[in-house]
């Protein structure tokens, strides 16, 4: 474990001797301490900006179990064969070396908000003045009849980056000729609103090249979905006859699966499938619930600084937060993290706090050089993060514009990952 001992309270010698149960000092410590849990688009960005901008005035600890973080954003492009898995992997070395962030590769297993401490699976305890939670999503047990996490190898969700992404692509590549790929799409709200539909596009792209008689069957509990007109246009242009989406009006929400038999039953009709991508209903990452800052599935936050409604010293970023109008996306989490970092630094060091401004753009790839995007800007109101202005790609755009949009998405990926990790 790479844990900087400054974060154990008590003398260095005592802490070293009793790593399992360090004492915690409530007051009189030196620098203010911020613990960030989760090293994705929200957490890595928040830790980086706090450490960079405070120039050593704030002690920042980042808790993230993975040594190499595989982004969930752009994972569909790996499934489509446009990216290698290594293109999506990022490490935390620069955050530690360049900004002095204490990067701890461990699981946070509990938060004591009265004592202001975080417990780690390895047995250590971290004290904080401010706690930033950016744990992403977990799945709602029982939301898809017949599926549970125990079935995620037979029927992958592939909605967290890394091994699940690789598994789904391997299964698609192993499909028999003329086989069936099924997807159970999630109900709102969920991470990356266009994500399931970009994934369908990328699966179709793979199958068109290697298995053109294969079919894609989608059960969707929603009456409509993000960028629907753009995707439907693209599917008609590139993948005519391959994709069958059963929406809410035809019973797309009445679905069950049998991972052992590899069947999916939609509105009473059972189909044998070769690959089944089950994307269940989502909720805030578990540590948010354990910290007691959730209400229902998500953690309500104040728009001005992303602090939770129940505890001004605990902040929640990104997918796990319930903030208002922003979609759950890596871009949103990154945007929220910068507002939060500015506010937290101001609270701890009296640095200037500027007004909250948020933005988001989601690019999706439909086929080679056929990119589309949707985006909006947001502001903080007393009630929520509220949408100010937005745009969406149009149907019928020129091939040049779609290619430029795709190239722009690659630029964004390079930009946001640099903004998180470099």
């Amino acid at each position: 474990m790479k844990l900087n001992r400054r974060h154990f309270i008590g003398t260095g010698a005592a802490a070293a001797a009793t790593l399992k149960a360090p004492a915690v000092l409530a007051d009189g410590h030196g620098k203010p301490r911020v613990v960030v849990i989760g090293g994705g688009a929200g957490g890595a960005t928040a830790a980086r900006y706090l450490a960079k901008d405070s120039q050593g005035a704030v002690d920042v600890t980042l808790v993230e179990p993975s040594r190499t973080y595989f982004t969930c954003f752009f994972s569909n492009l790996y499934i489509g064969g446009f990216k290698d898995i290594d293109d999506l992997g990022h490490t935390y070395g620069t955050l530690a070396a360049k900004y002095g962030i204490n990067v701890v590769h461990d699981w946070a297993v509990d938060v004591d908000r009265d004592a202001k401490t975080v417990s780690l699976a390895g047995g250590d305890t971290l004290a904080y003045d401010k706690l930033i939670l950016s744990p992403g999503i977990d799945f709602v047990e029982g939301s898809v009849d017949g599926w549970s996490l125990a079935a995620q190898n037979a029927m992958p969700h592939s909605y967290k980056g890394g091994s699940q992404t690789e598994l789904l692509r391997a299964q698609i590549e192993a499909m028999p000729e003329g086989g069936v790929f099924a997807m159970v799409a999630p109900p709102n709200p969920y991470r990356c609103p266009p994500g399931p539909y970009e994934r369908i596009s990328m699966v179709a792209h793979q199958l068109k090249a290697r298995n053109p008689t294969a079919k894609i069957l989608v059960a969707d509990p929603k009456p409509k979905f993000s960028k629907q007109g753009l995707f439907e246009e693209g599917w008609a242009n590139h993948y005519a006859g391959m994709i069958d989406v059963i929406g809410e009006d035809f019973g797309g929400g009445n679905v069950s699966v049998d991972p052992a038999a590899m069947t999916i039953t939609i509105d009473g009709e059972e189909t044998s499938v070769d690959v089944c991508n089950v994307i269940p209903a989502m909720k805030a990452g578990r540590i948010a619930e354990m910290a007691g800052v959730t209400d229902g599935n998500w953690a309500p936050v104040n728009a001005v600084d992303m602090s939770t409604k129940v505890d001004p010293d605990v902040y929640v970023l990104g997918d796990a937060s319930q903030q208002g109008d922003m979609p759950k996306s890596g871009y949103s989490a990154n945007s929220q993290a910068k507002v939060c970092a500015n506010a937290v630094r101001g609270a701890l060091t009296d640095s200037r706090v500027f007004p909250a401004k948020f933005s988001n753009t989601c690019w999706s790839l439909i086929d080679t050089d056929d990119g589309v995007k949707v985006g909006a800007t947001y502001e903080a109101t007393d009630e929520k993060i509220a949408k100010v202005d937005g745009f969406i790609s149009s149907t019928g755009e020129s091939a040049d514009l779609r290619k430029a949009t795709y190239e722009e998405s690659e630029g964004w990926y390079a930009g946001i990952t640099a903004d998180m990790f470099s």
Binding site: Y49, D53, Y331, N334, S335, K338, N342, R352, F354, K357, S359, T361, K373, G375, A376, T377, E379, V388, D389, G390, F391, D400, L401, K403, A404, E407, E408, S409, E410, G411, W412, A414, G415, I416, A418, D419
Partner: protein, 235 residues
């Protein structure tokens, strides 16, 4: 040639209420022909015109930027074309006034024409060498007067670099801090004036990119100045 004066009158009528002279987008083609001396060492026009240092300008009206086959355009111009920039009286007016404000790294080394009447006259001359005069793009009901002619008071605002640094975090989700450009242009180390003019061109929807129109649209004059001040010094 009278039809061009008529077109100018139509355009002027569309802008009733906008008092400034530059709303009259097409001027006198005969005066324009004289002014075109400034352009013709690089741009041929008329029968038998060929590409030179710059592309020939026959048929420029209504053409997408960087769409003339056979001419090697700057990446910036190609990108503007891909983003949807089409040459109309409005966009040509903006380009002629300050080429870099509209297309930041254009290879056209021309300081620009500050006098709106001169621009209108040159455009009236050029318009005669484009096809389909009936499709005058500047006569569309959506045609607007130019508003890129920034108030000197806006250009004179001293930006607050500390505020700019905070605001810049929003830019840096896409634009790389180290100035590298991979699918998204570099925005570091620009002269402040160019930065401010470019951002106002997005804010006023003269530049076509929707993300940038949205981002710039919500920034006030002080915030744009703050960003310009910060990015100018970013290493």
């Amino acid at each position: 040639m009278k039809r061009w004066r008529l077109a100018a009158a139509v355009v002027a009528a569309l802008h009733v209420g906008a008092a400034s002279a530059e709303t009259q987008l097409l001027g006198d083609p005969e005066i324009g022909e004289q002014l075109y001396i400034k352009c013709k060492s690089c741009h041929q026009v008329g029968a038998g015109a060929k590409d030179g240092i710059g592309p020939h300008l026959n048929g420029i009206f209504g053409r997408r930027a960087a769409a003339h086959e056979g001419f090697f355009y700057s990446k910036s111009m190609a990108r503007a074309g891909a983003d949807g920039l089409v040459w109309t009286a409005e966009t040509l007016d903006a380009y002629l006034e300050n080429p870099r404000a509209l297309v930041s790294k254009t290879r056209m080394s021309f300081r620009g024409l500050k006098d709106p009447a001169e621009r209108a006259n040159i455009m009236a001359y050029l318009r005669a060498f484009s096809d389909n005069p009936a499709d005058l793009p500047e006569a569309e009901p959506t045609a607007r007067g130019t508003d890129h002619d920034l108030d000197p008071a806006i250009l004179a605002i001293q930006g607050d670099p500390a505020y700019g640094e905070y605001l810049s975090s929003e830019c840096l989700t896409c634009h790389q801090r180290d100035g590298s450009a991979e699918g998204i242009p570099s925005i570091t180390r620009w002269p402040e004036e160019d930065f401010v003019i470019a951002m106002h061109a997005y804010k006023n929807k003269l530049r076509p990119h929707p993300v940038m129109q949205m981002m710039a649209g919500r920034l006030n004059n002080e915030e744009i100045a703050a960003l310009a001040a910060y990015f100018k010094t970013l290493e």
